[in-house]
């Protein structure tokens, strides 16, 4: 094919402990929109970083218009004609909008920046996105959605022939997203190839022409026309099995039992309003919502990290004022498995034994705060066996483990503390499929033995597999509740409908606020 712009073959990229990419192929043709799909941790972001010169692959071949290229730096990628909008925020907070947009090749004259010449192209790029903001304003004063759009404007400025968009719509309203799709269509009409990464399959099927699916660092579907596939096909390729929720037998939850945790019309300083929620013994309550719906923030308010401004939190029927996570753990027995494993979950540079026993030192401590290493070893050893954590020794640093095992270590500390309520936040993000499976069984078993569990997940399949009841949140409010009948089609339809009905009615003012 003559109009192939960028092609990669058998790309391998290795990080310590992980083969992030293990033989990935991809072919991008001019004038098309290419979907890059895969679950979290499948290697999408790594692939994008390889394509944009951030990472150098350990092996494999990249060709640009038929010639082999080596992209050693982001600048080389840009010069070649590859532009990107990364998932992370990539703006310089103190710089103006115009300066951020023109960051890669600022208009300059003999080494001096020409600010006047910056404004016109910046306004053009902003105009294409229908964004009416002052190009001289510092970026740090913009809202998150506006910053996201500025990122896209920045990518437009480089006039790339291949434009990679990594989750560009994550923080955009449907209107803003639609605006973006128009731009994408306009770009492809000019012969640009746009690579689109998104978790929202509806978007993918609405605008993409071809698709590549990654799973565990391999491309399981390579540059295939999207018209040949249904959403279900694609999803089963992504997860590696048909997503029928059959592994978990339905079970009875005693709905008459007194709730362990109940929130009664709780409002928080983070912006939550009138949140009411019950979790009963042995029940798995799912809290579903899109990124930014305020689920983790709600949990942090319950743990005492953010101010509760109204309503009441009750534990075991009694009103509870929780001032800190320490109190939540030692007084109320609440454990919180965080979604940010590396930042808030495990101590990467510390031995596994410390990672597990951190919650029980208070209990183990004797005179002068003495903690016996033998007891620590015993506690950790039991949990390592019980959770099947693969380690070479308890003294090994947690950072040397794979993602799934780190997550198990992170969970082990809460089991060690015999928590009476477990809050699990995105437990299987960045974990390979098999460990994910084991994790689901584990959560299931814990609930069967009577532990109440509040499960936060953005993975609809995971929600429907595990939860007894799904509470749907959007914009820091509860939008509805669905009893899980474990029929994926019906459930996902109902949940998505709840979110979208609200999403459409709630976006108006945000889109135009400047």
């Amino acid at each position: 094919m003559s109009n192939v712009l960028l092609e990669c073959q058998a790309i391998v990229k290795v990080f310590p402990g992980v083969r992030a990419l293990d033989g990935v192929g991809l072919r991008l043709t001019a004038g098309s929109v290419h979907a890059l799909l895969g679950e979290n941790g499948a290697g999408k972001s790594t692939l994008i970083k390889v394509l944009t010169g951030v990472h150098t692959p350990n092996s494999g071949r990249l060709t640009w218009c038929g010639d082999e290229v080596h992209l050693r730096s982001p600048l080389e990628a840009t010069r070649t004609g590859i532009g990107v909008v990364h998932q992370e925020r990539n703006l310089i907070p103190g710089f103006s909008v115009a300066e951020n947009i023109t960051l890669q090749s600022p208009p300059s004259h003999r080494g001096l920046i020409d600010r006047a010449a910056m404004t016109a192209p910046a306004l053009t790029c902003l105009g294409e996105l229908g964004l009416d903001i002052d190009p001289d304003q510092p970026v740090r004063e913009l809202s998150v959605a506006q910053q996201q759009l500025v990122e896209i404007a920045k990518a437009l400025y480089t006039e790339s022939r291949v434009l990679l968009l990594d989750e560009p719509t994550a923080s955009l309203s449907p209107q803003e997203a639609e605006r973006l799709f128009e731009v994408v269509r306009r770009l492809t009409a000019r012969g640009t190839c746009v690579v689109f990464v998104s978790h929202k399959l509806e978007e993918v099927f609405a605008i993409c022409d071809t698709v590549t699916v990654l799973r565990d660092g391999r491309s399981v579907l390579e540059s295939s026309p999207l018209a040949d596939h249904t959403q279900d096909d694609v999803v089963s390729l992504m997860v590696g099995r048909a997503h029928s929720a059959t592994e978990m037998r339905p079970r009875e939850v005693d709905t008459s039992a007194a709730p362990v945790l109940s929130l009664d019309r709780v409002s928080t300083a983070a912006g939550h309003r009138d949140i009411s929620l019950d979790v009963r013994p042995g029940e798995i309550v799912g809290l579903y919502g899109l990124v930014g719906a305020g689920r983790s923030e709600l949990v942090k308010a319950v743990l005492g990290l953010d101010r509760v401004t109204g309503g009441e939190i009750r534990l075991h029927g009694k009103p509870a004022r929780i001032a800190s996570p320490r109190q939540a753990l030692h007084v109320f027995g609440i454990g919180y498995l965080t979604e940010n494993r590396k930042e808030e979950g495990v101590f990467l540079e510390q031995p596994i034994v410390r990672n597990i026993t951190v919650t029980v030192w208070k209990r183990l401590a004797k005179a002068f705060g003495f903690v016996s290493s033998r007891e620590e070893q015993e506690v950790s050893h039991d949990l390592v066996e019980r959770l099947g954590i693969r380690i070479s020794g308890l003294g090994q640093n947690a950072g040397e483990l794979s993602g799934g095992n780190q997550q198990k270590v992170s969970l082990a500390k809460w089991l060690a503390a015999d928590t009476r309520l477990l809050i699990v936040d995105e437990p299987t993000v960045g974990v390979d499929v098999r460990t994910k499976h084991a994790f689901h069984e584990l959560i299931w078993e814990l609930a069967r033995d009577g532990l109440p569990i509040l499960l936060i997940s953005s993975d609809l399949a995971e929600m429907i597999t595990l939860a007894d009841r799904v509470v749907v949140m959007a914009d820091h409010r509860i939008r509805g509740e669905v009893d899980n009948d474990r029929d994926y089609e019906r459930m996902s339809g109902r949940i998505i409908r709840i979110i979208h009905d609200r999403a459409l009615s709630a976006v108006g003012p945000k889109a135009v606020r400047a």
Partner: protein, 357 residues
């Protein structure tokens, strides 16, 4: 609670990833390397200049300096363990010593009570520093820097307000003995200790043992380390990180004050200039000993070894006639070389991990 075991050994990818990735052979151990270096350098200096092994004239003052500076480095290590810094170690030492001197001169306190007053003052100023840091969330670097300024001024002001010639010279009974007595003055029957080991070292030994116990065996020590390793995760795991940070700074202030007292005892006067040159050795000792600046990893023994190495090099070069003025040049080079070597090691082990994946 019975929990379903995860699926069996089919999981090869993970098994590979979690295999013992990289164990450093024992001889690469930093502490052991330091010890070997200290011993061989001492032997070398001893051979080149037999006077180096003179117990009373060389080793005694050398060990006295090492004792004091080890405590200074420990004061730094404690804050490094929670990922903070204390740029005001020297000034906290001066602040503590001021109180001891005041106690002896004006209140007529006996030796131990003056020491207690000194430690209390140091702990208090450390606690205040820690409190400001936790309450405002301003980086410890800035807060201790400002503290350094403020104490630098305050201590001199107090000395000039309280004394005639900017120093307390009253010596309580026992001070002179503490200054000049060695283990040779302690005899069990006919057997006396070595004249090389100063009695002042008892404080250092106590501090080393205390901190060693704290970090190796107790809950608080572990919590300090985890607070340093990852404050967010520590907070979520139920560790009162704010209180641990305050505790670390309090301990740091206390140890700094102890070092100030020891320095004052060695020189014989309590004056404002005590601790002026503490900042550099405090970082040298801790960092050479393997304590990470980023927090979470400390080595109490390493502090002793790191400080000793610096002391031995300083003394040895001095005896070799390198001249006081060039000493710092060599010391700076030693620091940079030691750390570069460490860095090379990390890079090598990283490569090895990547290759094994």
């Amino acid at each position: 609670m019975p929990v379903a075991p995860p699926d069996g050994d089919t999981n090869t990818a993970e098994a590979t990833a979690s295999r013992p990735v990289h164990r450093l052979p024992f001889w690469v151990n930093q502490r052991l390397g330091l010890l070997v270096l200290i011993v061989s350098l001492s032997a070398l200096f001893g051979v080149l200049r037999p006077a180096f092994l003179d117990e009373r004239l060389v080793l005694f003052p050398l060990l006295r300096d090492i004792s004091t500076l080890t405590v200074v480095a420990l004061a730094q290590m404690v804050v490094l363990s929670v990922g903070h810094m204390n740029l005001a170690v020297g000034r906290m030492a001066a602040f503590g010593a001021l109180f001891a001197g005041f106690g002896y001169d004006r209140l007529g306190l006996p030796l131990p009570l003056g020491l207690l007053l000194c430690l209390f003052a140091g702990a208090a100023i450390g606690a205040l520093t820690g409190w400001i840091i936790t309450r405002t969330g301003v980086s410890s670097f800035v807060v201790t820097l400002a503290m350094d300024f403020a104490l630098l001024g305050l201590v001199s002001l107090l000395y000039s307000a309280l004394t005639e010639n900017a120093a307390f010279t009253t010596k309580p009974s026992g001070l002179a003995e503490l200054r000049s007595y060695s283990l040779a003055d302690i005899c069990v029957g006919p057997v006396c200790g070595s004249p090389a080991v100063p009695q002042l070292a008892q404080f250092t030994v106590l501090a080393l043992l205390g901190l060693g116990f704290l970090y190796a065996c107790t809950r608080i020590g572990r919590e300090l380390l985890l607070t340093g390793a990852n404050p967010a995760a520590a907070e979520l795991s139920g560790i009162p990180t704010g209180r641990r940070v305050i505790l670390a700074h309090t301990l740091s202030g206390l140890l700094a004050a102890l070092a100030g007292f020891m320095a004052a005892v060695s020189t014989g006067t309590f004056r404002a200039s005590i601790g002026d040159d503490f900042m550099l050795p405090s970082f040298l000792g801790a960092v050479l000993g393997g304590t990470l600046l980023t927090g979470g990893v400390v080595s109490v023994l390493g502090v002793l070894l790191g400080t000793s190495l610096v002391g031995v090099i300083r003394k040895g070069l001095d005896l070799l006639g390198v001249g006081l003025e060039s000493l710092n040049i060599y010391l700076g080079c030693v620091l940079l070389l030691a750390l570069s070597a460490d860095r090379v090691r990390t890079v090598l082990s990283y490569r090895k991990v990547v290759r094994s994946t």
